[in-house]
């Protein structure tokens, strides 16, 4: 079956695992907002914390780099474009291109923020079961019954559950096609068609089987309520996160 990604939940019993998932969602929302507003000093504080959290979660940096290589590449491109298009004191120039000092700095800050936010998401996703995230999202959506929180919750759960399955299908099909020398065909449109269409068809079949299997197990409107356990630590963490977010965003 599917391989697990760095973002997949890891079993454990740390304080981060035990924290109420609603508090985790509030915390990452607050911290993300603070980080997006923060300047260099705040970002230093946040970086220190996130390095600590990543070590605490024991995630392999090399695997993260490998899985997020396209995202990192995109961030680098954002930085480059920022550096080129922002007017200001010129650092160096080459023919029509000139790199400005403010461009390099603002670009760096933007990318830095996003990297911290990605790691923040990572620390939550490796310590929280999808089931808990799903329940927390459902809980926050409860005041908006017209959004049918229950269905949205199920959709989130299934999405997380099935992304690895679809990726595995894609990898298997790709391997089978390479075994028949698809690489000799240079036309990318052709390659996309022979891989994309069967994959899409298989994904629909998977979805169809899944629906039937869920129906056979009486999936309907109601479900047993999620067992919340909001404790003292959760309250302390919540207050701590509010303070921390204000520190990060104002310094």
């Amino acid at each position: 079956m599917a391989e697990l990604s760095v973002f997949a939940y890891r079993q454990g019993n740390s304080a981060a695992h035990r924290l109420d998932p609603r508090i985790k969602l509030i915390s990452i929302s607050l911290l993300s907002a603070a980080i997006l507003a923060a300047q260099a000093a705040g970002l230093f504080v946040a970086t220190g914390l996130i390095i600590g959290a990543t070590i605490y979660c024991r995630v392999s940096l090399r695997q993260i780099g490998h899985e997020l290589r396209w995202l990192l590449f995109m961030l680098a491109a954002v930085w480059g474009i920022r550096a080129l298009v922002t007017p200001g004191e010129t650092l160096f120039s080459w023919s029509v291109f000139s790199v400005s000092r403010t461009g390099v700095l603002t670009g760096a800050i933007i990318c830095w923020r996003w990297v911290i936010i990605i790691f923040l998401g990572l620390t939550v996703s490796v310590t929280t079961r999808t089931e808990d995230i799903r329940a927390a999202v459902e809980w926050f959506l409860r005041p908006f019954p017209w959004l049918s929180p229950h269905r949205i919750g199920t959709m989130i759960g299934l999405l997380v559950r099935f992304i690895p399955v679809i990726l595995t299908h894609a990898r298997e099909m790709g391997a089978a096609q390479r075994a028949r020398c698809v690489e000799n065909r240079k036309n990318p449109i052709y390659r996309l068609r022979v891989l994309g269409l069967p994959l899409l068809r298989r994904t629909f079949v998977t979805a169809d089987h899944l629906t039937i299997a869920m129906e056979a197990r009486c999936y309907g409107q109601g479900r047993t309520a999620y067992a919340w356990h909001f404790g003292r630590e959760d309250g302390i963490v919540l207050v701590g996160m509010v303070l921390l977010s204000s520190v990060i965003s104002f310094c």
């Binding site: 939940y9 089987h209 479900r223």
Partner: protein, 249 residues
């Protein structure tokens, strides 16, 4: 008393193809039934009628005295169904969540759900894997997980669609041993299979489907000599004049 009664059902697919043709059968409570037939003979289609996942154009299905069309949810609680493909029926992120899915859908109180999950995991020998991700289980363990997922809902009939597909020899024996134990505990068992050798030694009744019709229905010993007429391989022991051997010995 019959737990499942099927009266003259006919199913035609949306594209006009005929799936089932005037099928009737009664399955007694506690019976161990093997439903055999070549690929495409209609086994899966028939099983999906048992609990209202598909509806016939003609005929009725009665489960435990109630018409399935009137109360499909009741039929789904009475009949637990294990599908052929494990990948597409496991919805939980952990073994525990997967088994809890059914009981939670029945809105049982949390404590009852926990108890049902523990019992089902224990019966399938999965307690030690409770927090594991289903991705990381072996083929046999994953098959057992799908069985635990329906056992937790406490059904009286267990229906298996090709339960031995993609299993190695130890996997087949492991799953078979647990199915036989469930039968001894009093569950009614229906197994759909395209080959008989793995399971027929334990069956009390053999029903053969061919092109959407019941081609034969009776005691395994009587039907086995002629199964090759319906594109099903005859277990090899019969050619040497022996009785079929259980895979558990």
């Amino acid at each position: 008393m019959n737990i499942i009664e099927i009266k003259n059902i006919t199913h035609r697919f949306a594209n006009g193809r005929s799936g089932l043709n005037n099928i009737s059968m009664d399955i007694a409570r506690g019976q161990f039934v093997v439903l055999a037939g070549a690929n495409g003979s209609g086994k899966t289609t028939l099983l999906r009628h048992f609990n209202g996942l598909m509806t016939p154009q003609q005929g009725v299905i009665i489960v435990d005295g109630v018409n399935v069309a009137d109360d499909p949810v009741r039929a789904r609680r009475t009949i637990g169904m294990v599908f052929q493909d494990t990948d597409t029926q496991i919805v939980g992120e952990t073994v525990y969540d997967e088994v809890a899915f059914g009981p939670e859908n029945l809105c049982w109180p949390r404590s009852v759900v926990n108890k049902a999950v523990q019992t089902a995991l224990d019966q399938m020998g999965l307690v030690h894997l409770s927090d594991q991700s289903p991705h990381l289980l072996s083929g046999g363990e994953r098959r057992r997980l799908t069985i635990a997922g329906i056992l937790a809902m406490n059904p009286s009939v267990l229906v298996f669609d090709e339960p031995f597909a993609n299993l190695d020899y130890p996997g087949v024996r492991d799953v078979l041993r647990r199915i036989v134990a469930l039968h001894q505990e009093g569950h009614t068992i229906v197994i759909a299979a395209h080959d008989l050798e793995k399971v027929i030694a334990h069956a009390q009744r053999l029903i053969i489907l061919s092109k959407g019709c019941v081609a034969a229905d009776g005691a395994p010993n009587e039907l086995l000599p002629s199964v090759e007429d319906f594109d099903i391989r005859r277990p090899i022991e019969l050619s040497f004049g022996h009785a079929v051997q259980s895979w558990l010995n």
